[in-house]
């Protein structure tokens, strides 16, 4: 089985904090990490490879330093990594990103399954996975929490819904996005780390891909960010003091006053 995993390097959101005095983001030495949901995508690809054989190729589109994300994937045991990097891609929204990644996947050629994370934690859009599927004209299932069965031609997955899950069978090749529940990601092996250290991923620029210039980067992005602002910061409210009974009574009164409970 030929598996392609799409991963994205994102700033570690734990560190995106707001300076209350200036209302700007504090980003001192913010480390970059592999988007947490993509770690589950990576793990699932490795488990599938262990089960049915095949190869795992990891792709990422981003600035040159996104190489590090691919190295991390290598340390976990994937076969190869490809970095798509070019200033021409700057400003891509999810439509242009899906198109660029789909074009990359076309160039790779043979594939049976594409796995993405549910969403990237910087933009939180969850649109690139379904976007890739649509660009490639292949079936798509989102929020996969379990792969029940897999064969050469089909797989059967559980799609997480708000109140339970749906069981869906889909023909391959296909795209799925995965949620955290699907597995427990492994840690890098020593051998993997050794390999990752020296690993140089393949680099493709826009000229390596069969992409039309109008559909990538800012030009290919229908949506435009007009402004970015920080929300009003939530302020700590009241401390309720007293023994448990008193506290319970105070809370009850507050709820009544504020009509939180009938």
């Amino acid at each position: 089985m030929k598996i392609i995993v799409c991963i994205k390097q994102v700033p570690d959101t734990t560190d995106v904090k707001i300076d209350p005095s200036t209302n700007t983001l504090i980003r001192e030495g913010v480390p970059s990490i592999v988007n947490p949901f993509d770690m589950y995508a990576l793990e699932e690809s490795l488990r599938l490879r262990e089960k049915v054989g095949g190869t795992v190729t990891v792709i990422t589109m981003g600035p040159p330093q996104a190489k590090e994300a691919l190295r991390e994937a290598i340390s976990l045991g994937v076969d190869q990594g490809i970095l798509i990097s070019d200033r021409a891609f700057a400003g891509s929204d999810t439509l242009a990103t899906s198109y660029a990644l789909a074009s990359t996947i076309r160039k790779i050629g043979a594939y049976d399954l594409i796995i993405c994370g549910k969403q990237a934690i910087d933009g939180d859009t969850a649109q690139v996975g379904p976007g890739i599927a649509e660009c490639l004209q292949i079936p798509f299932v989102a929020f996969v929490k379990k792969i029940e069965e897999v064969s050469d031609q089909t797989m059967r997955v559980e799609r997480m819904m708000e109140t339970g899950y749906d069981v869906i069978e889909l023909p391959l090749p296909a795209v799925i996005t995965v949620v955290k529940e699907i597995n427990e990601p492994r840690l890098p092996s020593l051998r993997g780390q050794m390999r990752a250290k020296k690993y140089e991923p393949t680099l493709w620029t826009s000229s390596d891909l069969d992409v039309s210039e109008e559909r990538i980067g800012l030009k290919g992005s229908p949506t435009q960010v007009i402004k970015i602002f920080t929300p009003e910061i939530r302020k700590a409210g009241e401390h309720l003091e007293g023994d448990p009974e008193e506290v319970a009574d105070k809370l009850f009164q507050r709820f009544k006053e504020a009509k939180i409970i009938p």
Partner: protein, 398 residues
Amino acid sequence: MNIYIDADACTGCELCLPSCPFNAIEMREDKAVILDNCTLCNACLDVCPVDAIHKVEEKVTAPHKPCVIEEYAGVWVFAEQRKGVLQTVTFELLGEGKKLAATLGEELCAVLLGDGIRKEAETLLYYDVDKVYSIDDPTLAVFQDDTYSACMAALARQFKPNIILGGATHIGRSFIPQVAVKLQTGLTADCTGLTIEDSSKHLMQTRPAFGGSIFATIATYHHRPQIATVRHKVMKPAKRQSERRGEIVQLPLPDEAKRCRTRFITSVEELEETVNLAEADIIVSGGRGLGDPKYFSLIQELAKTLGGAVGASRATVDAGWIPYSHQVGQTGKTVCPKLYIACGISGAVQHLVGMQSSDVIVAINKDPQAPIFKVASYGIVGDLHEVIPALIKRFSAR
């Protein structure tokens, strides 16, 4: 568009560095420079005290698929139904859609897909719509990406709506991105604010990013329809009118929706009661401070007393105390109920991003330094094993 820093004007004050959410500004020889990973988000533009950061608008980028914006009119709402039940988010979208439609002086229409849904179509007429486009076909009995996205795209091609709104639900966030690609137009995910810009009449879509630490306003200038998925529980639901209005436009299944590559096998409802955090007005969540999985019974009882749902921190989910479907936070669910009670939860930022937009937050924690208190409307420093039973007692006596 491009952003650059005028090296002659730059004083090297470094004020712009922390303004960049993507770490795309670097100091080189005492001058700030914009790096390749700039996403053109504009966050740095206003912070420069000497106006050395410039934005160059290239000539308005021609969309690769020319689109005559004037041909598009009407605000559409995807009326999500499951098993014949219109989802509450639908009414929120209708309420918001009405405002937008009124501002634009355009129609408000609902799009209803399903099988045997005449009753739901009639219900929608009580919500001040001009039209309900309904495709009622056995093929649409259950949600599948192929059929739903094909129907929506076909309808949009035929009737050319200006705006399409869908719920940012599992269904909406799954198929609407495919609709946007089919129509080659912009889609903004999980919006919490929508307005029409006075001068240009474009839809201004505001949404959280980085788990809500920043917000972005996004527009689709040159493409139509303008599509957005909208976060549940943020918009005010439309009120049911006493009279019906508008008409039901019954349409056949479009040809491209006749082929469905995926096969729906079954749908499993999970047994735990009141897991549906997205719908809940009240959520009581437990964290590692419970000390033992058995004390989730306390959380359940308090939730039951208040008529709420049960949430959890990741620490408890990872420890296997409670299923993942209860997890709130960055890698779990984002919720915004009217009331969120966090019991024995420290308030790590990954948890906070999932619940800090709740109207009222109550925190119970024995550590007065716990970060959860920073966002709590009411903070209770104490042992949850004593406080929760007291709350249950007080609130069940009402």
